[in-house]
């Protein structure tokens, strides 16, 4: 980092401030008006609205209601994109082998002890924001990303060997991930199956009852709104994102000994 670069960067940010000052003085475009799109307004109004039971999803968090109820199919395909990227990394590094019994190294005792205390608390926090995704800010993806921090901490502090010792293998994680994806599909087609049995009309990804179908997922548990299928989707999404990110972290932190075969195999093909 040279002093000249810092000066240029500072003058660049001053340029931004001066341009915005000029536009402000001239009085051009208006930003942050009180008006929002009518679609967003209707989402805000109907997301938790017991008086319109055909439109509501009983979720206090509007973003989570949009993600898993109003635009559920979109999010499902996004989850499959994550799966596809893991499979793409597998094909790139094909032929690697996991050597389980190498000597672990890791950092000093101070760091290890501090990490040991922090890990259960991170697990509790991640599960808290995932299971309360319909009540407070948070949801499946947030919880999964927070849980994946644990595996990155373990790789950084205890080394990859400790993950193998705890029973993590990338193939097992991919299997868990596939099972959770199937679970997500089962939750999505449950209303369809119930409608088929009862011989009434019902839809895929249906959450609450609609105008022409009375089938609905459970909306309350004890004293808090469960928001129907949103809770189940959040739990499955937590596991999917956690296993996906952990698999990618493990594959990208493989040692040279383990990767040697993968690159040798490729040379033979060429």
């Amino acid at each position: 980092m040279i002093k000249r670069d810092v000066l240029v960067a500072f003058s660049l940010s001053l340029l931004v401030l001066s341009i915005s000052l000029i536009i402000w003085l001239e009085g051009y475009i208006r930003i942050a008006t009180p008006i929002i799109s009518s679609l967003g307004e209707s989402y805000l109004y109907y997301s938790y609205n017991p008086w319109y039971s055909n439109y509501t999803s009983f979720s206090l968090n509007v973003v989570s209601a949009i993600i898993w109820d109003y635009r559920g199919f979109d999010t499902f395909l996004e989850t499959t994109v994550l799966m596809a990227s893991i499979i793409a990394i597998y094909t790139l590094l094909r032929g690697f082998e996991e050597k389980v019994f190498l000597q672990p190294k890791g950092l000093s005792t101070i760091t290890k002890t501090a990490t040991k205390i922090v890990i259960p608390l991170i697990i509790a926090y991640a599960l808290a924001i995932a299971t309360h995704g319909q009540l407070t800010p948070g949801g499946g993806f947030q919880g999964g990303a927070t849980l994946a921090v644990i595996s990155s901490l373990i790789i950084a502090v205890y080394s990859l060997e400790f993950l193998y010792y705890m029973g993590y293998r990338s193939k097992r994680l991919v299997v868990i991930r596939g099972l959770c994806l199937i679970g997500l599909i089962i939750v999505a087609i449950t209303p369809l199956l119930i409608g088929f049995i009862l011989n009434t009309k019902s839809y895929i990804f249906q959450n609450m009852s609609k105008e022409d179908s009375f089938i609905s997922m459970p909306s309350f548990l004890f004293d808090a709104p469960l928001a129907g299928s949103i809770f189940f989707y959040n739990v499955f999404e937590l596991l999917i994102v956690f296993t996906g990110l952990t698999t990618a972290l493990m594959l990208l932190s493989l040692r040279d000994v383990e990767l040697k075969k993968a690159f040798e195999v490729r040379e033979v093909y060429e």
Binding site: D5, A9, V16, L17, P137, F141, Q142, A145, S152, A156
Partner: protein, 86 residues
């Protein structure tokens, strides 16, 4: 009249710092320093998400930008090279 100034002042400071760090990241030759600067920019971005009233994105962005992306980049640099040649 009720005047709220502090959040708007923070929005200005965060966005200007983001531009400042962006130029330094592009110009930096040592990739380890570049990743550390990217991490700092991520902190300011997550503060902006909070100021723009998106708590969901705030919770998502902190583990992604401070935990996972830098670790992936550090792993990549450890396996390849940590300096940029012209």
């Amino acid at each position: 009249m009720n005047i709220v100034v502090l959040p708007y002042l923070l929005v200005i400071i965060c966005s200007l710092t983001s531009t400042f760090l962006a130029y330094l990241i592009v110009k930096e030759r040592n990739l380890v320093v570049a990743i550390l600067l990217l991490l700092g920019q991520g902190i300011f971005h997550s503060l902006l998400y909070y100021l723009l009233m998106a708590p969901d994105l705030f919770i998502t962005y902190i583990p992604v930008s401070v935990g996972i992306t830098p670790l992936l980049l550090f792993l990549l640099i450890k396996k390849t090279e940590w300096r940029e040649y012209d």
